[in-house]
Structure formats: structure tokens, C-alpha cells
Symmetry: C2
Subunit: 194 residues, 2 copies
DNA sequence: GGCCAAGTTGATCGGTTGATCAATTCGGCT
DNA sequence: AGCCGAATTGATCAACCGATCAACTTGGCC
């Protein structure tokens, strides 16, 4: 009855690196559904179908796990929106409310950063990456001095998304608000981005 | 040796309402030094010089305590900056880094809002108050359509302050960045606010 | 002076967490 | 076939959490 096939027989026992990767993957999925605060040894272990001790064995403390998961989620988000062409569609994508799970992760990361230096470093690195990305997009779009605009835009996106975590204001008009502000900062005529 | 003076003899036993007020006061101080996450029955009790059970007795669950402390801190912050005249000095005050403790409280509040409806409601109420305040300031300053500008500005202030919790970017030029963006949104010439 | 209501205590319960580690199991190599 | 190192388990520890409540203390009033 048992098939000794050449395909992975769902072997219970994995390589160290493979197990570590699997754990990280499940931890990421958990963080995306329940937030960074849900990352406990036991919860991650259960999600990965593994004993809690094994999670601890492949991780250098929870702070490091949280930092690693955060970095992965942020990088994944950047990869996702990399294909969105144009600064206006990008802003729309980043504020349409479909990424609320990611927003929660970001806000939790800022909140936990003061007490988790490893996470704080990861946050800074990811923000540098986002700043660079937005800057490039703005330059492509014809902005003459994109650096400060990118930084202000990033602040606005993050702030407005954080606000929506508490259900404040209507998410529907976030994009219009930000695009109007962006036009103003770039010195463009209203409606240019719509 | 004991002086039965008319001044409050530091009576150990207080009125129900007075004790409740004292507990709230100490809880607020604790949140301002260690964040909302530090609000535990035991920690608040120790800070207030009182048994943990007494804290629980005067509070309708920790969620309610957190919400109440948050509201007080936000209202206090608004009262503090109420005396700052002009929109530019106000923006400067709100981003000069001297209120990092309050910023942490805000970010923790957004992060905890999805799981604490009472807190979420308090956050929305306080944000309404801030929105109203900024709107009034902008109108005083001569803005024709202050509502969307106030909302974008609030987003930027909160976003930029959240960023600084992780130590990202230099706090020193936050104000200049925001004022430049604000000038643009208001359609004013660069330098008008500086 | 005594009494009673109100304030207050702190032990206790059931639950959670991160971390540790001896014991066990398994896969692959000889 | 047998073994050995690596993967894995899960019980265990100390520390913390919110909540509860019987017992104690005290202040003010009669």
C-alpha cells in the first residue's frame, strides 16, 4: 500500500536548513493572519506541525524570529507591488485596504522596535529599501527632487494606514487624499495623477 | 510624635473615587515611561503603592484601563500644545522628538486597536479631536479647504513619528520636511512657514 | 466606645510565555 | 544488518499574566 515513490513522500524528517525554512514560512503565514504578536514558540510549532522545542532549536530567540519574519513580509510586499506601473497606481495599491495584515505587522514592528534592537535594525533596513523604491518611481515619473517627496509620501502612507487599523476615516478616499497631496508636493496640477 | 495636622496626613485609605483617580494617574505615568504594554495589574499596583487586587477592583478589565489611559494621554498632549500659536510652531513641536513617549503610546494603540474595541473607539474619538484641532489651526492660518490638508498632515506627522521609533532618519529635519509638504498642499510659496 | 460599611490586602487559580534538555526516533551510510 | 549522528519530541522550569475573593483593616458615625 505504501508507495516508495521518487516524489517527496512527505518525509517527516527534514534537513536542518529545510526545517528552518519551513518554520520561517509557517511563522510568516501566522504573522500575516494574526500579527507579529501571535508569534509564540507554541503557536508557530503548531502551525508548522512541529514541537515547540524544535522551533526554539532553529531560532535564535523570539526577537530574532520576529525580526526575520518582519523582514520577509516587508520584502515580499515590495516584490508584490514591484509589478505595479506608475506612481499613482502604486499609491492606490498601497492604500486600498487589501494589505491590512501587512499594515498591522508594520505598526507592531514600530511599536516593538524600542525593545527589540534586532527588529529595529530590520525595520530601518526595510524602510531604506522602500524609500529607495519610491524615490526611483518618483524620478521615473518626472520628479526633480524625489528624495524628500518620497519620504513625506512614505510617512503619509504609513500614517494613514495606521489610522485605518482603528477604523478611523474611510479607507476609500485615502488614495485620492494622498494623490492630491503628492501632486501638490511635486508642483503638478491637480488631476495630473488621476 | 505623631502630628494630627489638618493637612492631609497622607491617609492610607482614600475615597473610592479618589483612589480610582490616583490609580489612573499612576497608570498614566507608567504608560508614559514604559508604554501601554507595561500596564499590568501588578505593575500599576506597585507604582501606585497599592495591592494588585485593588487596581482590578477599580477598573473594568485591562482593556478598559488601557483605553482610559490612552485617552487621558492624548487629551493631555492636546492640552499641552493648545498654547502653541501658529501652525508651523505646532508642527515643529509635534515632531521635535520630545514626545517620543507619547508617540509610542499612539503606535501601540493602533497596534492593539484591532483586538481591543474599547481602545479602538477611544482612538477614533481622539483622532477626531486632533483632526478638528488641526483643521481649526489651518483655517486660522488662512487655508481655504483645511479638512483634507489636516487629515494628510495628521497622517504625515503620525507616520514620521512612528518611523522615528525605529530610529529611522534624522528627527532633526522632520519639521522642515512636513512644513515644506504643508506649504505645497496649501498652495503657498516655499518658505512661507519658515 | 463600639460598630459597621467601605476600602484594602494578598494569596490563589488557571492560563500563558520563552527557554532548556534528557530522551527518543529516524535516515542514511557503512 | 547495524549503527551513529542528526532531527525531533515533549515534559519541565521559572516567570509572568488577569481575575477572583475571603479575610483583614480602618475611618467615621451613632
Amino acid at each position: 500500500m505504501h508507495m516508495p515513490s521518487t516524489t517527496t513522500p512527505a518525509s517527516r524528517r527534514l534537513t536542518g536548513t529545510a526545517r528552518r525554512a519551513a518554520i520561517l514560512e509557517h511563522a510568516t503565514a501566522l504573522a500575516l493572519s494574526d500579527g507579529l504578536a501571535a508569534l509564540t514558540l507554541r503557536a508557530v510549532g503548531q502551525r508548522a506541525g512541529v514541537a515547540s522545542g524544535l522551533v526554539a532549536h532553529y531560532v535564535d530567540g523570539m526577537d530574532a524570529l520576529v525580526a526575520e519574519v518582519f523582514s520577509g513580509i516587508s520584502a515580499g510586499e515590495r516584490a508584490e507591488v514591484a509589478g505595479v506601473g506608475g506612481i499613482a497606481p502604486l499609491v492606490r495599491t498601497l492604500t486600498d485596504g487589501t494589505r491590512e495584515a501587512v499594515t498591522l505587522v508594520w505598526v507592531q514592528a514600530w511599536a516593538a522596535a524600542p525593545g527589540n534592537p534586532v527588529l529595529a535594525a530590520a525595520v530601518r533596513a526595510e524602510m531604506d529599501a522602500w524609500q529607495t523604491m519610491l524615490e526611483a518611481r518618483l524620478r521615473e515619473a518626472g520628479a526633480s527632487d524625489p528624495a524628500p517627496v518620497a519620504r513625506a509620501l512614505l510617512g503619509m502612507i504609513d500614517g494613514v494606514n495606521a489610522h485605518s487599523l482603528a477604523g478611523w476615516q474611510d479607507r476609500a478616499d485615502h488614495a485620492a487624499l494622498l494623490l492630491r497631496a503628492l501632486e501638490a508636493m511635486l508642483g503638478w496640477a491637480p488631476g495630473t495623477l488621476t
